[in-house]
């Protein structure tokens, strides 16, 4: 087994997604694994396969002049731009670890080593987060495409938290401010970690060295002709309106934005009471109950630090009478929604 390396360099947003979808589509049993690298020449928003397009504020994407591209793998909306380096490890499904945790371990531990080589004390956490301290430094995901499995990630050299928060469709501006605050606290770029001097070339070199150390010396080359055709087919597919619209998915009540594993901001309303809650590590780190009632402010303060979903928290909510009961209903909606 040899590791093929395809460094596509700077490409269009569409090619930056179609590249690895095409490599995966063309992969056959017995093929060598492929490490592919690229960076988009313009900003865009990527959205996971099983996500409704209305999770995005499309007016904001037009205002920011960024297109939206749906990917075949999961996860929520992500901001992608030229200040990032994308990496993907694609391997035949039959030779990839069948257990998701092992798949991510095999595919992401070299990326963690690359971050360390760049000066960031990274570690893998909660299956597929790459963290430095308690902040996420890479967005990752995986999917089976054809006969291949692909694990993808990125190195954030710089990251515009405000632009990311701006393109999300959120029910209130208060939630947008909270999502932005939580994102700033939990998602960091190398620049934010004091590694602003790291270039794309540095990041690419570190990734190639780390994946080479783990999977064998990489052999750099170009796309095969069948891979090139598959990439072009994906570009056509991803440009179609039907693909962008995505599968028919039900609309869910409330709104929940995952920032990293175990950290999310959720909002829902029930009977005139709305709750905006930030959850970290299974506890409410912040809560805002709105009910036009003085009890709501007291309940907001009382919820902070309480564990999510436990009997003690339910008793606390019910101690606040009708406001607490409605808040409990809203929280049930908000916290069972999709990330």
């Amino acid at each position: 087994m040899a590791l093929r390396l395809i460094d596509a360099g700077t490409v269009s947003p569409l090619r930056s997604q179609a590249l690895w979808h095409g490599i995966a589509s063309a992969m056959r049993e017995g093929d060598d694994p492929v490490l592919s690298l690229c960076r988009p020449d313009d900003a865009y928003v990527g959205i996971g396969y099983h996500r409704r397009l209305d999770e995005l504020d499309l007016a904001a994407t037009r205002r920011q002049r960024v297109r939206v591209i749906r990917r075949q793998i999961g996860g929520g909306p992500v901001w992608l731009d030229r200040d990032q380096l994308f990496f993907q490890l694609t391997m035949p499904a039959r030779s990839a670890p069948a257990v998701v945790d092992r798949l991510y371990a095999q595919a992401l531990e070299p990326a963690v080593a690359a971050f360390r080589a760049l000066g960031a004390d990274a570690r893998r956490d909660a299956v597929n987060d790459v963290l430095v301290g308690d902040v996420k430094v890479s967005g990752t995901g995986a999917g089976r495409i054809g006969d291949a499995v692909t694990v993808v990630g990125n190195v954030l050299l710089r990251f515009p938290h405000e632009r990311m928060a701006d393109v999300l469709a959120l029910p209130t501006e208060e939630m947008r401010e909270e999502v932005l605050r939580v994102m700033r606290a939990n998602v960091a770029c190398l620049g934010g970690l004091g590694l602003g001097g790291v270039t794309h070339e540095d990041a690419a070199g570190a990734l190639v060295a780390a994946y080479g150390a783990a999977l064998g010396p990489p052999i750099e080359g170009a796309l095969r002709s069948d891979e090139r055709c598959a990439v072009e087919r994906w570009e056509t597919r991803m440009s179609a309106t039907g693909w962008l619209r995505g599968p028919d998915l039900p609309q869910r009540p409330g709104r929940r934005v995952k920032v990293r594993a175990g950290v999310h901001v959720a909002w829902a309303r029930s009977g005139g009471v709305s709750v905006l809650a930030t959850v970290a590590g299974g506890r409410f780190s912040r809560a805002r109950v709105r009910a036009g009632d003085r009890a709501a402010a007291a309940l907001s303060a009382a919820l902070e630090g309480m564990p999510v979903g436990c009997d003690g928290t339910r008793r606390l909510l019910r101690a606040y009478g009708a406001v607490g009961e409605r808040a409990e209903q809203a929280l049930d909606v908000a916290l069972t929604g999709r990330d």
């Binding site: 099983h50 092992r102 999917g143 039900p250």
Partner: protein, 152 residues
């Protein structure tokens, strides 16, 4: 309608269903002639918790081995592969609304109904059911454990 369940190595199986060894989906012939399809407990367990499902449009014909939809489970998206050939006649809207139902009850939470294609009869004959079902499933559990796909 669900039959009496049997337990094999900690997994509940309905001996009235037909199980596909390749996809670990079950198939249940309906009185209407349609074929109902769902995850078998091993398929569900090794996928991890299902968080989202999508299906091809009603009226789409799929061959055995072709995709009739996609499942997002445990941080991985992958195709749902048809255990028999047929035309999708119905989706289970309940699992589309709440994919957790699949995690809670894979034998009850059906995915789609297929109108069988002519070759489906031969394909159904290859699925596992009746005598030997428990032995086959137990061997599959052992194989999955040996491959590290199931906790001991």
């Amino acid at each position: 309608m669900r039959g009496t369940l049997i337990e094999v190595d900690g997994f509940a199986l309905d001996p009235g269903l037909l199980y596909d060894p390749d996809t670990h989906l079950w198939v249940q012939p309906q009185d209407s002639g349609l074929l109902r399809v769902g995850f078998d407990p091993l398929g569900r367990e090794t996928s991890g918790d299902v968080v989202a499902l999508s299906f091809v449009a009603v009226g789409t014909a799929v061959d055995r081995g072709a995709s009739f939809g996609d499942v997002e489970a445990a941080k991985l998206v992958g195709p749902l592969t048809a255990p028999v050939s047929g035309t999708v006649e119905a989706h289970n809207d309940a699992v589309l609304q709440d994919p957790m139902l699949v995690n809670l009850d894979p034998l009850g939470a059906w995915l789609v109904d297929l109108r069988p294609a002519p070759q489906a009869a031969a394909e159904l004959a290859r699925l596992r059911t009746g005598e030997g079902l428990a032995d086959w499933f137990s061997a599959e559990v052992k194989r999955f454990r040996e491959q590290g796909m199931l906790a001991e």
